[in-house]
C-alpha cells in the first residue's frame, strides 16, 4: 500500500498530513459521524485507501487528476475526473441513509484522498497545455556547473520531494508545521466548491510553469521556493476537506 502511495503526487504521507489538518477542523458532530463510518479515531489511517484500491480497478488511478479547459475552468463531466468523483462521493454521503455501508465507507475514503489529489499542482491538467501532464527539466545546485551537478527532474516528481523531506515528521506534526502560518487563511481558503478549488490550483500551476517549464534549467533554490506553494495547497486541501465534511454532516 505504501509503495502504491508513492505514485500520488503528494505521496501517501502528504495525504495523511492533509487528513491530519482536516481532523483538526471537524466539528464535534462531524467527527462523531465520520469516525463512526471509518471505525477509527482519525482520518489519517484512511488517507491512502483509494490508492490501495488501484490494483482492483484501473480507472481509480485516473481519479487523482482534475482537467481544466483552456480557460482554466473546470467544466468536465468525465466520470473519472477528480472533481466529478468528489461530487459523486459527496452526493452518496448526503444520501447515506439510503446507501449501503460499504458504499458510504468507500465514498468517505474517496473524499479524504481525492480532495487532496486535486490540490496537487502535479495533478492538474489544462487542455491545450501538454506541459501540465508532466515534463522533464534540469535542476542544479547553483554553485557548481559541472555536468555531474545537473540533475534531470520531472514536474510531477518535484511535488513528491517536498513531502519526502518531512518523512520523519508524524502527519500530525507536519500538519502543525503547515498550520503555523496558514491557519489564519483558513476562512479564506475553505470557500467555494470542488470545481473552484481545482481552478484555484490551476492558477498556481500556470504561475509555476512560467519559471519551471519543459527543458528549463533551474537552481535547487528555485525549486525550494516552490515549497511555499506546495504547503499552501496542502493546507487548502485540509481546510477544504474539513469544510466539505462539516457541510455534509451538519445535520
Amino acid at each position: 500500500m505504501l509503495m502504491a502511495g508513492e505514485a500520488c503526487a503528494f505521496r501517501g504521507f502528504g495525504h495523511q498530513t492533509i487528513a491530519a489538518i482536516a481532523d483538526n477542523h471537524l466539528t464535534e458532530n462531524t467527527k462523531r459521524e465520520v469516525y463512526s463510518i471509518l471505525k477509527a479515531d482519525n482520518m489519517v489511517k484512511h488517507a491512502n485507501w483509494v490508492t490501495s484500491q488501484r490494483s482492483r480497478a484501473k480507472r481509480v488511478s485516473e481519479w487523482q487528476y482534475a482537467t481544466l479547459d483552456a480557460n482554466g475552468k473546470s467544466t468536465t463531466t468525465y466520470e473519472n475526473d477528480g472533481v466529478v468523483v468528489i461530487e459523486k462521493a459527496a452526493e452518496v454521503l448526503r444520501n447515506r441513509k439510503n446507501e449501503s455501508d460499504s458504499l458510504v465507507f468507500a465514498s468517505l475514503c474517496t473524499l479524504i484522498e481525492i480532495v487532496g489529489d486535486i490540490h496537487c499542482p502535479g495533478n492538474i491538467h489544462i487542455e491545450g497545455n501538454e506541459a501540465t501532464k508532466n515534463f522533464a527539466f534540469t535542476r542544479w545546485n547553483g554553485r557548481k556547473v559541472e555536468e555531474k551537478n545537473r540533475l534531470k527532474s520531472k514536474w510531477r516528481e518535484m511535488w513528491h520531494d517536498y513531502t519526502k523531506t518531512h518523512d520523519v515528521f508524524t502527519p500530525q506534526y507536519y500538519a502543525e508545521d503547515l498550520e503555523i502560518i496558514l491557519l489564519k487563511k483558513k476562512a479564506e481558503y475553505e470557500k467555494g466548491t470542488p470545481r473552484f478549488w481545482a481552478e484555484n490550483v490551476g492558477e498556481d500551476v500556470v504561475w509555476c510553469l512560467k519559471v519551471i517549464y519543459p527543458e528549463a534549467e533551474v537552481t535547487n533554490e528555485t525549486v525550494y521556493r516552490y515549497e511555499d506553494i506546495n504547503n499552501r495547497c496542502m493546507a487548502k486541501a485540509g481546510y477544504r476537506l474539513a469544510a466539505l465534511l462539516n457541510n455534509i454532516f451538519k445535520q
Binding site: R143, V168, I180
Partner: protein, 278 residues
C-alpha cells in the same frame, strides 16, 4: 537497549553512503523537536512568528544551504576551535572562535530585547542558524583540538568491517542512524529525553564558557570510548552502550540548551559569555 544495538549494527552497515557533514539531518530534526517541547509559551509564539515553521523544519537548513552557497555558510558554523587548547577565548581563532563565536555574536545581537530592533528577516535568519548550530556544537567530533593536546586527532581513523572510516563521520551519524529504520522525530525524542528536573537545571545554567567545556568533555570521551583503530562493526555491547550514552547526552545538551537560548532571548535576557569578568 536491544533496539539500539540492532539500529547501531544497521547503521555501521550502510555508513559508507553517508556524506560528511554535521549531525545527520534526522538527528538535527529530532533535537530541534526536543528543544521545541521545552520552549516557553512566549518563545514558542515568537519562533512561530519569525520562522513560520517548526524548529525541526529548519534544523538542517544550513547543511542544505551550504551546498547552494558555500561562501555564506562555512565550516566555522559547525566546529569549535581551541587555539591554545586550554583557554576558551570565543573571540579569537577560526573566525570569531568557531561555532561558539557565532553564538556569542548572535546573543549579542538578539539578547536583552535587542531582537526587537532588528528587521524580522534578520531575526529569522539568526534563529534558523541557531536551530542548526547549537545542537551541532555538541556533536562529539566537532572540537578541533590543537596538536599539542591531541596530536593524533586528524589521524584518528576507525574501521568498519576492515575498511577505513573517519572519526568525524562515525560520530556525526551515530544519532541520526535511528531514522534509517523508520523512527520519527517524536519517537527518538521520547527515547532520549528522559532527563531529571535537577539535570535540566544544571544544563540550563552557567556561562557559554561552561557550555564550551562540556563540549570538550564530550569530545574527549568520544576519543576514549572509541579509540583509534577500533572496528565499529565489531564493538562489544558495552562499547555500543557507551556510544549510545554519549550521543544521547550530546542530543540532550543540544536540545535543552537550544531551548534555553531561545527562551532567554525572548524573555529579553542574555546568557553570560564567561564565568569571570574577562
Amino acid at each position: 537497549m536491544k533496539r539500539f544495538a540492532i539500529i547501531f549494527c544497521a547503521f555501521v552497515s550502510v555508513l559508507g553512503v553517508q556524506s560528511a557533514k554535521a549531525w545527520h539531518n534526522f538527528a538535527h530534526g529530532s533535537i530541534a523537536y526536543m528543544a521545541e517541547q521545552h520552549l516557553s509559551p512566549e518563545a514558542k509564539s515568537k519562533c512561530n512568528y519569525y520562522l513560520r515553521h517548526t524548529l525541526s523544519h529548519y534544523a538542517s537548513w544550513m547543511d542544505a544551504w551550504r551546498l547552494e552557497r558555500f561562501e555564506v555558510v562555512n565550516k566555522s558554523h559547525a566546529s569549535m576551535s581551541m587555539p591554545d587548547g586550554i583557554n576558551l577565548d570565543f573571540k579569537s581563532g577560526d573566525p570569531a572562535g568557531g561555532v561558539m563565536g557565532h553564538l556569542v555574536n548572535a546573543l549579542a545581537e538578539l539578547g536583552d530585547g535587542k531582537y526587537k530592533n532588528l528587521p524580522d528577516s534578520v531575526v529569522r535568519q539568526r534563529l534558523i542558524n541557531m536551530a542548526h548550530y547549537v545542537p551541532d556544537m555538541y556533536c562529539p567530533s566537532h572540537v578541533l583540538f590543537p596538536e599539542s593536546v591531541h596530536p593524533s586527532q586528524k589521524a584518528h581513523k576507525l574501521y568498519e568491517k576492515g575498511k577505513k572510516l573517519g572519526y568525524h563521520r562515525f560520530w556525526d551519524h551515530c544519532l541520526g542512524r535511528e531514522g534509517r529504520v523508520k523512527w520519527e522525530y517524536e519517537e527518538l525524542a521520547a527515547a532520549v529525553d528522559k532527563v531529571s528536573k535537577k539535570r535540566v537545571a544544571e544544563i540550563q545554567s552557567g556561562s557559554l564558557e561552561d557550555w564550551g567545556r562540556d563540549i570538550i568533555r564530550l569530545a574527549q570521551r568520544s576519543i576514549e570510548i572509541v579509540p583509534m583503530g577500533t572496528d565499529v562493526a565489531y564493538m562489544p555491547e558495552e562499547q555500543v552502550a557507551a556510544v549510545r550514552e554519549l550521543v544521547y547526552e550530546a542530543a540532550v545538551l543540544g536540545a535543552y540548551r537550544l531551548a534555553y537560548v531561545l527562551n532567554t532571548i525572548f524573555a529579553d535576557k542574555n546568557i553570560p559569555v564567561y564565568n569571570d569578568k574577562k
